[in-house]
Symmetry: C2
Subunit: 299 residues, 2 copies
Amino acid sequence: MNRKSETTEWFQNLQDNICKSLENADGKAKFIEDKWERLGGGGGRSRIIRNGNIIAKGGVGFSAVEGETPEKILKALRLEKGDFFATGVSIVIHPDNPMVPIIHMNVRYFEMSNGIWWFGGGIDLTPHYVDINDAKYFHQELKKTCDIHNENYYPEFKKWADNYFYIKHRDETRGIGGIFFDRLSDSDNFDFESRFNFVKDIGNLFAPTYTYFMTKNNNLEYNEDNKKWQNLRRSRYVEFNLVYDAGTKFGLDTNGRTESILMSMPPVAEWEYNYQPNIGSKEEYTINMLKKDIDWINI
Amino acid sequence: MNRKSETTEWFQNLQDNICKSLENADGKAKFIEDKWERLGGGGGRSRIIRNGNIIAKGGVGFSAVEGETPEKILKALRLEKGDFFATGVSIVIHPDNPMVPIIHMNVRYFEMSNGIWWFGGGIDLTPHYVDINDAKYFHQELKKTCDIHNENYYPEFKKWADNYFYIKHRDETRGIGGIFFDRLSDSDNFDFESRFNFVKDIGNLFAPTYTYFMTKNNNLEYNEDNKKWQNLRRSRYVEFNLVYDAGTKFGLDTNGRTESILMSMPPVAEWEYNYQPNIGSKEEYTINMLKKDIDWINI
């Protein structure tokens, strides 16, 4: 089996498995699927879930696209003219209960007709309220998975995530970070199989990790003020995705399927001019913890 | 009086007058003011209004900034190194009643230390529900004002607005357009005074035009479905401002005051995956009218 079909098949199965796990954990909502085709080659399956017991709005997208590489992509990735192939899974889940964090994951494989290939991806958690134990758990799980493959992965990719998931105009990280990696190709220590195995393990980590938070935190009580705060945090998520997120910008720039790209948007968001949380509040604590370079594991 | 102080003073007064008119028409909410200073030179007065009888959230900003021109601006505007001066008024008003349109206006003056100068600006209306008579009235008022100064202004600047206020990834205009203009400097037919007089007339047109819509349309009834639609339309406003709006992008890129730049955000916005209005509905009609090159005056 060649790399294209191997990765395509694996990501497709990952989408299936994650959707099943999320439906089980939610206990009410079911994914609806939109299949789409890309002008120029390939297509995808967007799966959307909403109004669940736990999930307010979410999407789990799979795509495998190919064809002539758009000029913008050649330029941005500094590639020579040629055909491209890209496949992967993208997820954003917005929960109803403000005590459950928002999560995002993307895992992807990219290949050019001249033989260049790489894996990329990331997973990051955006709690509306930062909870130290949840943050520690999340980063420990990521570190454990990274360490199986290479002990430089976690420190390197954690730092990358801190820098990537950063809302410059707010001087805030999007959430408590996670890992981010790109252009993982062959080198002295790695080949296609070892890189793919790492990406598989990250992909497989998503469902158990997020359903853990869904199940545990959905029991936590909340009030109207917490909902209001959730909506204010969701607006920062919108700002990050529309102003900075490379995948979103690229998708919109290259005439991607808008509804699939923007399935990352929250169900609702609120903006309030110069909102300042009360001193000593949980909201203020959260803002203070949205910083780069926090060592969540040893905090 | 030199051009800097002449324009600064005029725009400052415009902000005062517009705020007074909006408060009068609203009848409840009052503007609060934040004065700010810019690192590097100048500053501004952000005025914010919310929870009014008619206005849900709005901002009327004045600024007069100067100093060394940031590298990004030099490059984007293809200017030679030098100091810049910029002053102007920016407004976005989000009404509570979905039958009242959102409005935006910006009028500004820019000058470089080498003597280059120009005026720029625009005003555009974003109804949640397109009403032909309102659209016609709005464009007629703009045309009347433009025609006093030059009969090419309206057709040229109307087209410019159609192209500028366009959400490419949705293939929708933001609303029913208006006028947009930039780099109005001296030429065979125009000098500083004639350009400034045009900008003054546009600035002065804002208050009577928008308070006309506020007063007239706030009497129209609406239901929960209309509110939902309003929030979906507001999310398109967010998408335009964060993805395309040159002023917003520039402000964020050049470390402008974030809260002043993003005072254009609506109070609330909703996203729903692949929302399709009912066939024959007012919502569908609105979508169908969000197109470039509609001759609103003779429609």
